[in-house]
Amino acid sequence: MKFIKIDKESWAKGLERLDDSFRLFGPVKQDKFHNFKELDKGELPDLSLLNTRLSPKSVVYPQSEVMFEYTLDENKEDHHILKEIDKDYSPRAVIGIRPCDAKAFLVVKPNFDAPEYKDPYWIKSYEATTFVGYACDTPCSTCFCTPAGCGPFHEEGLDLLLVDTNDHYLIKVITEKGENFLSAAGWGAEVDADAASDQIETMRHTAEAKITSRVSTDELKDKNITDLFEASFWEEAAFACINCGTCTYACPTCWCFDIQDETYGYYGIRMRNWDSCMYPLFTLHGSGHNPRDTKIQRVRQRFMHKLKYYVDKYENGIQCVGCGRCIRLCPVNIDIRRVCELMNSYGG
């Protein structure tokens, strides 16, 4: 294992050097809160935040993404033919991504990159991205990454882990991608691995101890699907929900999209946009029938998918990394920790 020390002055210089070979994304304060965006030349990622309002999933999987274009002009030879749009898949890096958000990419990966189905846009973007994680030393009270199978210093999904020791950064090199990123930045002061590793371990314990949300997921796997589906608590758990979809848009592990064509005169595009199981339109059939016509059905779907179907199908834990965004942003305080407890303890 390799560890690098970067003093805070050479941090900015390295990022500047990276500008030539990488598109850099990082958290930036916009108006009242932080979000990930592509950094302008010389712009530094602001790492002094708790976490971004929305997750960085959009760096790989934008809310609206054009896939094809076409012309409807019959005078043109190639009219009515969908043509793939050129996209920028040059190397990019997300600086300051939190471990939960990085792990989230692995949680959604089996959906976009399965043996039988491949989503070319997601895969190409994902593969072009280097994930430079920022270890959390001040988790929020709504964070429950540790019980969700992740953690404030978790390394799955990261290429590099950046640890802020106050007077300098320590970087733990996790993958070859990370190694390449480091050499492009020209940071190279390697430090004694044992000492650095011990220091990080101590910080990790301190950070983990600060995560006080306890959520149990151990029984979910053994519950009977139909029992949970028909459980009596859904009416009460779903009552407040206004089906706004905020939880799913903010969530790093929600992956659903809808495909739309838009035309401007003769010119048209086919694009995909995030969609949400919270919306009635999500399951509306062409016949007019809607198998999830009521709020209770939709709320149940969101939680059953994350906490039961995913668990059973992929054997990869829950479809949630405990970032807590849905808890912080839900306008009516539907709390996944509470619903998870109800599910996990259902039927004794």
């Binding site: 309002r53 009270s141 706004c244 946009n273 009635p280 306008p331 305080n333």
Partner: protein, 315 residues
């Protein structure tokens, strides 16, 4: 406020015990600071969970739409006006409701308070007209009057307009409030500046529609933004579509909006959605002398036709 909650529980228990209602809709304590969760009570144990404080800003009229049970509902001034609007628009029957009125002492603005602190707020306690905010290593006392939801700061109908039960004496209504200072500022802008103003206002919008869904007026089975035949509005992040959504929604609410602030409270991006609806609300007042939800006797100006209308164009 604590006197209110005792009364709320007493009334709710009585209504349930006497089978006057099948459920009472109220709030239970939230799991994060400055949030309570709308909930229903069908048993005395459920009633025990009810709370009342300055974090009950969600408009509960939103939970009545098309329900058929007999319902007791806890109603602030604004909720009661939306209940009236619901009754007029046939979204709920008056005789299915027992309205438990709460003379409102105004709600606090969680977005505003959150942005006042650099680090996480872990606890917020209310004591009379003070709000005590606590976090890791800090504690700060704020005056409640400085951190009200913007709509509450200018509210002139805090007492419920219709109620069957009431949990306390009427509160004094605010007088001489300038309700439309912000609207007048926008009205005075030249057109290009107005465009820029609105584009800036909604630049962070993610089209989640929390604002619409939190609004009791937005009960359409299929909202115009969701229609696909014909498709009125595109679904991407295109600013034209986002703009269309906001302007049209505001028009759909004109003459019906009570300025309850539920939309702004709900928005995850902290967008001042009321800047749109308030203009229409002001116009209805200026042009028709109309305030939504004040009476069951009259229909809102935009859904009536009068043969003696003073305007020629409509005849």
């Amino acid at each position: 406020m604590s006197a209110y909650i005792d009364k709320i529980k007493e009334i709710s228990n009585r209504l349930l015990k006497e089978s006057k209602v099948d459920m009472v809709i109220g709030f239970r304590k939230g799991t994060v600071p400055m949030m309570n969760e709308p909930c229903f009570a069908k048993t005395p144990q459920d009633v025990d969970n009810f709370v009342w404080d300055s974090n009950c800003g969600i408009n509960l009229a939103n939970y009545l739409t098309n329900r058929e049970e007999k319902i007791g509902i806890i109603a602030k001034g604004c909720d009661s006006r939306n209940i009236v609007t619901h009754i007029i628009e046939n979204k709920i029957k008056r005789d299915r409701l027992v309205i438990i009125g709460v003379p409102c002492k105004a709600m606090i603005d969680r977005h505003k308070i959150e942005t006042m602190f650099e680090t996480e707020i872990q606890d917020v306690i209310e004591a009379d007209d003070k709000i005590i905010v606590k976090g890791d290593g800090f504690e700060k006392t704020l005056n409640k009057s400085d951190v009200l939801q913007e709509n509450c700061a200018i509210c002139i109908h805090r007492n419920p307009v219709k109620h069957d039960e009431v949990v306390g004496d009427p509160v004094e209504e605010q007088k001489d409030v300038d309700r439309y200072e912000d609207v007048r500022k926008i009205e005075a802008m030249p057109p290009e500046e107005k465009w820029r103003y609105f584009d800036d206002l909604i630049s962070a919008c993610i089209r989640c529609y929390a604002c619409r869904n939190a609004c009791p007026l937005c009960y359409c089975h299929t909202c115009f933004v969701d229609e696909s035949r014909p498709q009125w509005v595109g679904k991407s992040q295109d600013p034209i579509d986002t703009r269309t959504f906001h302007f049209l929604r505001a028009y759909h609410c004109s003459g019906r909006c009570t300025d309850c602030g539920a939309c702004e409270r709900a928005c995850p991006m902290g967008i001042k959605v009321r800047r749109f609806t308030k203009k229409l609300e002001k116009d209805c007042l200026d042009l028709f002398g109309w305030e939504a939800g004040m009476t069951l006797e009259e229909r809102p100006p935009l859904d009536t036709y009068r043969s003696d209308d003073p305007d020629e164009f409509i005849k």
